[in-house]
Symmetry: C2
Subunit: 128 residues, 2 copies
DNA sequence: TCACTTTGATTACAACTGTAATCAACAACA
DNA sequence: TGTTGTTGATTACAGTTGTAATCAAAGTGA
């Protein structure tokens, strides 16, 4: 399960996103929630759900005619794996070059900086 | 060119990596350098080079029978775009949740923390 | 000059993706 | 009860990707 997570495609991830918002959910609900942002045909969403089930990212229980779907791992679990994988590929596992890139790019906002500072304080209070 | 960068596949990126190490370079050199780490068939590497040329990520000049290839943008340019794209997809553009994930995961090393601190100092000295 | 080598170009082919359409089973309405 | 709509399952189909093999042109050694 740890490895398959990487194999979730972008479209599949968007389906997972709305599932994490609220689950269990029927396909029709998922379609409806998705279409606040995108315009995917119902059939498309069903296909993506099917693929997610095959990939063991989503499970379901039957409620009569229809299924109620649920994600099989937490969003945070996925984001951590995806982040780690990117940082490994691009920066041999070092996080700071990524942050440096953001800083250089003016992509770093004051809120981010404040959040980073408390993360660092926290980290330092935990490590010696 | 800014957008196409995202469309560089993982295998293609590895070819770019060794090109950035040193260029211009002939296909044979690239194959040789790549095979310090992997075992890709020469034909495979040629295919990837071709695709990179089509995607305008790599250019070349002819030197008689063979080509000398060069990357058409900097590594940092690519890593910044890829980082930004991931952070947007996973954290709506906010960097700190990514760092928080690393911290939670024990993936944050002392070196990283020190680097982050100087980045923050730097940022703060530049902003008001 | 002829067979062989090297190089880029073209073609191959299966798996994965995005984006659906069709099918089969059941439910609901007329 | 026959028709229609809904739901998941199966099939479709082109584009991308990983991983090469084949082809054609040019250079090389005998």
């Amino acid at each position: 399960m740890e490895q398959q997570m990487a194999d979730i495609s972008k479209a599949e991830f968007e389906v997972l996103e709305v599932l994490w918002q609220q689950y269990p959910a029927a396909a029709s609900d998922i379609v409806e929630r998705l279409n606040k942002k995108k315009t995917w045909h119902e059939k498309t969403v069903k296909t993506l759900l099917n693929r997610l089930v095959k990939k063991q990212a989503v499970g379901f229980i039957k409620e009569q005619r229809r299924y109620l779907y649920s994600p099989l791992f937490e969003r945070e679990h996925y984001t951590q794996a995806a982040s780690k994988s990117l940082v490994e590929r691009l920066f041999s596992g070092q996080l700071s070059p990524l942050v440096a890139g953001f800083a250089k790019n003016k992509k770093l906002e004051r809120d981010d900086v404040e959040a980073l500072k408390s993360l660092i304080d926290q980290w330092e209070s935990e490590h010696d």
